[in-house]
């Protein structure tokens, strides 16, 4: 079996699936092109078919019509088990094997594809560091780890043979908000480092906006409502369903996607009593600060302390 490093392009070509006895299809003529290296989020309400669509990629759920292609090859070409070894898969509850140590869990697929012991050990070390765990954790059992740690192991395990494609099914759903936020940030960082193609399923639009390079919104019946960058979706929702789904505060959410460094500031340095903020502050937080303080402007500083400019209300509006 050939291993690619790097990332794969994933294409859904008119894929459909229905279950017998139900009027609404699970997935309807889904067509989606996901370029290599993209972090693509599938989001939508329950019944929208997003998990189904995900599981059709590694054939845990068979599809009725259409095709799914990875780097041009149909997923139906290879035997299922072989296909899956080349795709990373992370699920919500982790699914770590309780009878194996962390190290042994990570080593499952490498052993299946015949790696040597030395290579497996090296890779395990590498992965533990990558996902933010200690080397000593390799000898521990899942029962000894916290929920957040287990999800990190799940991620490491999925990345073990360096697959070009990673499938993640609501991986942070079962975690408390603090751990979830931390892992979300780390996954973003990881993706910037290791540019693989990731398909990430969630029902949480905020998570989608935060994580995704591209977002695919699926409505009930597995119909694609919109597929675009977060900013584009927020700026121009395709229809009422999408507007409702992303929420009435979409303008504010758009502001959360930019920092003050992206804004064209008014030249100036304010007064001595002005509130000063870093250029890394998101525009949304800056607006919030403006509301809080009584001022009509904020002074924006660079990291080194030099003044960058002054931020006023209408500077925010310009962005939109």
């Amino acid at each position: 079996m050939t291993l690619h490093t790097g990332a794969a392009e994933l294409v859904f070509d008119n894929v459909s699936k229905s279950y017998a006895g139900r009027d609404v299809a699970a997935v309807s003529s889904l067509t989606l092109e996901i370029p290599a290296g993209t972090f693509c989020v599938l989001v939508g309400p329950s019944g929208g078919g997003k998990t189904t669509a995900l599981k059709m990629v590694n054939r845990l759920i068979p599809f009725d019509d259409g095709d799914i292609r990875i780097d041009g090859r149909s997923v139906r070409e290879l035997p299922a088990a072989e296909l899956r070894r080349g795709i990373g898969y992370v699920i919500q509850q982790g699914g770590l094997f309780p009878h194996m140590t962390v190290g042994e869990n990570i080593a499952v697929v490498p052993k299946l594809v015949g790696w040597q012991r030395a290579r497996i050990d090296e890779r395990t070390s590498e992965l533990l560091e990558l996902v933010g765990l200690e080397q000593a954790d390799a000898a521990r059992y899942p029962a000894q780890l916290s929920g957040g740690q287990r999800q990190r192991v799940g991620l490491a395990r999925a990345l073990a043979v360096d697959p070009p494609l990673l499938l993640m099914d609501e991986p942070f759903g079962a975690l408390d908000p603090i751990t979830r936020a931390r892992l979300q940030a780390e996954l973003r960082r990881l993706h910037r480092e290791v540019r693989k193609t990731v398909i990430f399923v969630t029902h949480d639009i905020d998570e989608a906006i935060m994580m995704g390079d591209r977002i695919a919104i699926l409505r009930e019946g597995g119909v694609l409502a919109q597929y675009d960058t977060p900013d584009a979706i927020l700026a121009h929702p395709a229809d009422d369903f999408v507007s409702q789904f992303i929420g009435e505060d979409r303008a504010l959410r758009r502001l959360a996607l930019r920092t003050l460094a992206d804004v064209e500031l008014t030249p100036g340095s304010g007064t001595n009593s002005s509130v000063r903020v870093s250029s890394r502050t998101t525009v949304r937080n800056a607006v919030s600060l403006l509301l809080e303080s009584d001022a009509d402007h904020l002074v924006v500083e660079n990291d080194d302390g030099t003044t960058r400019g002054v931020f006023r209300w209408h500077d925010a509006a310009e962005l939109l």
């Binding site: 078919g49 189904t52 099914d169 029902h203």
Partner: protein, 230 residues
């Protein structure tokens, strides 16, 4: 064929000696019943109380383990030497055998009642005794009855062996092949089996009658589904 002959003979024996077998069966049930009663009087309250207090699990669970390791024949032999021949020694031996399952199951039944429910009951203002009688006991009934059933079947199954120590009952026939021939022995064995099954079914019936309706309704098993409803 020998087999067919033996079994027809066995049924013939039963058909020809109904009164005798009935008397013997009753003797056996008397012995078994007495043993079960004595054991129940000790084991059930103990198990229930320990379970309610969540104490003494080693004893409660250990009693079954130890009980299993005590061969019935050994118990009968020992009690014979200590208490002489007759009814009491066998009843005592069988009672020892019957204690384990009832103690363990009563303990586990009460101990395992969801603590959330107990907490809710306490929160409503129930005393310990009320919690025990209104919440824990009804919920623990299935397990308690299982324990009683296991003990009952064990005792009925072991009682024939007591015949060697003066226990009487159907065992008298089974161990006495010289007098009753194979057909008699087989016939009595079939009767013991029937008794055993009968006791089992009777207790299942009692359990059903005593279980609160809410618990009797079977739950439709939840099919494991992912987040998606599809």
């Amino acid at each position: 064929m020998i087999v067919a002959g033996a079994f027809t003979g066995a049924f013939g024996f039963i058909a020809h000696n109904p009164g005798f077998l009935a008397t013997k069966a009753l003797e056996l049930l008397e012995l078994a019943g007495a043993a079960l009663l004595v054991a129940a009087v000790v084991a059930l309250p103990a198990g229930i109380v320990l379970g309610h207090l969540h104490r003494g699990s080693t004893v409660a669970i250990g009693s079954s383990i130890v009980g299993r390791a005590l061969p019935s024949l050994v118990l009968i032999g020992v009690f014979l030497t200590v208490l002489g021949i007759g009814f009491v020694n066998n009843m005592a031996a069988l009672a020892v055998l019957a204690t384990g399952p009832m103690l363990t199951n009563a303990f586990e039944g009460i101990d395992r009642v969801e603590q959330d429910l107990v907490g809710a009951a306490r929160g409503l203002g129930m005393t310990g005794w009320q919690v025990l009688t209104r919440i824990e006991l009804p919920l623990a009934l299935p397990l308690i009855f299982t324990g009683i059933r296991i003990s009952a079947v064990t005792v009925v199954a072991t009682a024939p062996i007591a015949a060697v120590a003066g226990g009487g009952g159907l065992g008298d026939v089974i161990v006495n092949q010289a007098s009753y021939r194979l057909t008699g022995v087989l016939g009595a064995s079939i009767c013991v089996m029937a008794l055993s099954a009968g006791v089992y079914l009777a207790l299942v019936g009692v359990q059903r009658a005593v279980t609160p309706r809410g618990l009797r309704v079977t739950m439709v098993p939840e099919v494991q589904r992912g987040k998606e409803s599809v």
